[in-house]
Amino acid sequence: MAEHSHNDSHGHHELGFWRKYLFSIDHKVIGIQYTLTALLFLLLGFSLMMMMRWQLAYPGQPMPWIGKLFGNTNMPEGIMVPEFYNQLGAMHGTIMVFLGVVPLAVGGFGNYILPLQIGAPDMAFPKLNMASYWVFACGGVVMLISFFVPGGAAQSGWTSYPPLANLATMGQTIWLIGMVFLITSSLLGSVNFIVTTVQMRVEGLSFFRLPFFVWTQFVTAFLLLLAFPPLEAAGVLQLMDRIAGTSFFLPSGLVVTGQLLEVAGGGNPLLWQHLFWFLAHPEVYVLILPALGIVAEVIANNTRRPLWGYRTMVYSVIFLGFMSFIVWAHHMFMTGMGTTISTFFQTTTMIISVPSVIILTALALSLHGASIRFTVPMLFALAFIPMFAIGGLTGLPLGLTASDLHLHDTYYVIGHFHYVVAPGTIFALFAGIYYWFPKITGRHMNTVLGKLHFWFSLIFMNGIFMPMFFVGMAGVSRRLYDQTQYAYGAQVQGLTAMGSWSAWMLGLAQIFFIVNFILSIRGGKKVESDNPWDATTLEWATPTPPPHGNFPETPVVYRDPYEYSVPGSDKDFLPQHVPDSGNSTSEPASADD
């Protein structure tokens, strides 16, 4: 066997192209694979939405130029049919959540950064890591294929509620198969993250010295591990309903388009909703926690001081993780829920807002007394805070059943969770890309393009989502192909058109990012040191870009993660791995760095 095990002499054996770039077991290559794949899917998911926004803004009018490309089934004479609109909607949600944000936040950043931040040479199970990526990639391909099967892709919403999803065209079957791949991939990844964090921290790196980003990934991994299996089970049950004639989610006596449905019956459509939201609420925190982790890293680095209340933030994240498992039924308040269950779930929903408030407060208090550098990653990280705050605050009227009576399933909900995920999480992901790009490529991204990207994105994100609160308040239901069918929808149609224009402008603003990203890989300004941001955490202690095996010498950790502006220190940052120098109270250590 000529194969080298990964744990002997890191970095010096030559691998062929396939093993190095495609079937790599190096966490950094896998992280980059995840990142690039996820960015492409984010662009695809966003493109689907930009198409839907045409129909929303100008219902029933032919789409100029592009409309003709989609054929007579989907867009006869350029006019989108409702079935195609529903496909775009369902696939926008699916792609953004399962193929875009989570793979980027966890598969991309988690894979690349987490082992570096804990001083590990790789993940605990490198081959499992590779398997996780390739299972994910298969899931992505399956989802893409679903657009081309008879009847098109899934069209019952990303939530796929039965019986509608049971009755849908073949695309739904493909969707379920795709989901089984994606869930399996997440499970493989989560096990790896947990074991790596517990087992592979270097000497001196106790749990309370972990960078906040590692904590968020660690808690996220538990959420994935515990929440995804019920959805995987539910997905298989729905698959059986569709292909094996079972009736887990189908009650008896359904009459569909005038025909009595010949099924066994006896099932319950609400069972799906419970299983689905038992995953999908923790999933919300899977989307948020890594974003909080990135923001915390960037803020600590660019405020040049320790995070305010690091331990409080860690406890809050752990508490959020626990609570996220017992709030799921607030998605189901209108399913006929009685007082006992609704009391429980609205109480837990109010409770879960508290740790979020604490984390945001801690981040804001970190600014007080800081010396803020407005770098591009910092701009995105700073904007995350108020955007996430809007997303969080607008959760309150939805979390109380009384106000939810009016707002449930309206555009208010769409506005709420998009503020959390789009100008919230996605801004944090952009912050992460701008922040770690120099470590990964050895080059900086362009600052001017970055700032243009930031300001236009900020303006147009708000232009899309702020009007949704008013549209929802007026009563407009979500997932409507044409809201002008209703008097109150026609009344606020102008706001919806404004949202569409903002979405298209937001699309244009991403060109700044795409150009910057591609050109900077080879043409960006070279970094002058391995630690261009003067940061403290271990990922900056590696050569740039980090070689296979990461650290030429295994580092030792001497202090907390964010020791910036320590009084009496000659520099304004003390990296975790640098021993105390003579001017502190401890003994002079041998300076071997």
Partner: protein, 256 residues
């Protein structure tokens, strides 16, 4: 009636329970905006005061002060008060305190792709037995032809007539997929789930014609699953009702 029904905020409220919801929604937004603005002022102050140019050296020690703690405790108290004081009682009243059917109107609404069948009990006020196997295009409700109670029943498709200032109990069910019965002016949303019958009640205080919408994705025609809520005086309702009922008697209408 010149009053504008719909606008850029809450539509008018014609229900007896809606004023509590509106009060809650409006004050909640005042609370949210106050928090956001107060917090935003601090945020912007920090960005300006502690930018690198103005404050080249950061402070290592965490900022002291109890304001943030008080704000957090304040948030918890407000949330708890709204939860226990408003949301829970309103929900309990809405879910449990049903009016006496003797003093209320009672109708069944059977949702299907993509219409609302509104089943009235006819002159005798008794709903005929229904079953899925009886559903045909002439008998959308699936009334059992052997049940005499159903002989005078009628189906007002997509139109729910009700009497103003009189509570109404609506029994909601669905034939095919999940729908959601939403009437914005009543501050009401209720999912309609196949295999279950869920009842809701409300009382309208204004006459007029208002939109009923489907709020849960139910297929390609979800967007046009629109019904009308007609709130009218007792006399107008009676006129309409008698007209419908006599159509059944004279066989002008095919519904059993």
């Amino acid at each position: 009636m010149e009053e504008k029904i719909y606008g850029y905020w809450l539509p008018i409220d014609i229900s007896t329970h809606g004023h509590v919801i509106d009060w809650l929604i409006n004050w909640l937004h005042v609370f949210m905006i106050a928090l956001f603005v107060g917090w935003g002022v601090f945020f912007v102050y920090c960005l300006v005061k502690f930018r690198k140019g103005s404050n080249p050296h950061a402070t290592y020690d965490p900022v002291k002060g109890k304001v943030s703690k008080y704000v957090e405790i304040g948030v918890v108290i407000v949330e708890a008060l709204l939860l226990v004081g408003l949301s829970m009682p309103l929900w309990a009243q809405f879910k449990n305190d049903f009016p006496d059917p003797a003093n209320a109107q009672v109708v069944r609404v059977v949702a299907e792709q993509f219409a609302w069948n509104v089943h009235y009990g006819g002159k005798d006020g008794v709903f005929g037995r229904t079953a899925p196997q009886f559903v045909t295009s002439d008998n959308l409700l699936g009334l059992d032809p052997d049940d005499d109670a159903g002989k005078d029943d009628f189906n007002a498709i997509n139109t729910l007539h009700m009497v103003v200032d009189k509570p109404i109990i609506v029994h909601l069910s669905a034939k095919d997929v999940i729908h959601s019965f939403k009437v914005p002016v009543l501050r009401l949303t209720q999912d309609v789930i196949p295999g279950q019958e869920i009842k809701v009640w409300f009382e309208a205080t204004k006459t007029g014609t208002f939109d009923i919408a489907c709020a849960q994705l139910c297929g390609l025609g979800h967007y046009r699953m629109r019904g009308q809520l007609v709130v009218e005086s007792e006399e107008a309702f009676k006129t309409w009702f008698d007209e419908q009922a006599s159509e059944i008697e004279t066989g002008e209408d095919d519904f059993f």
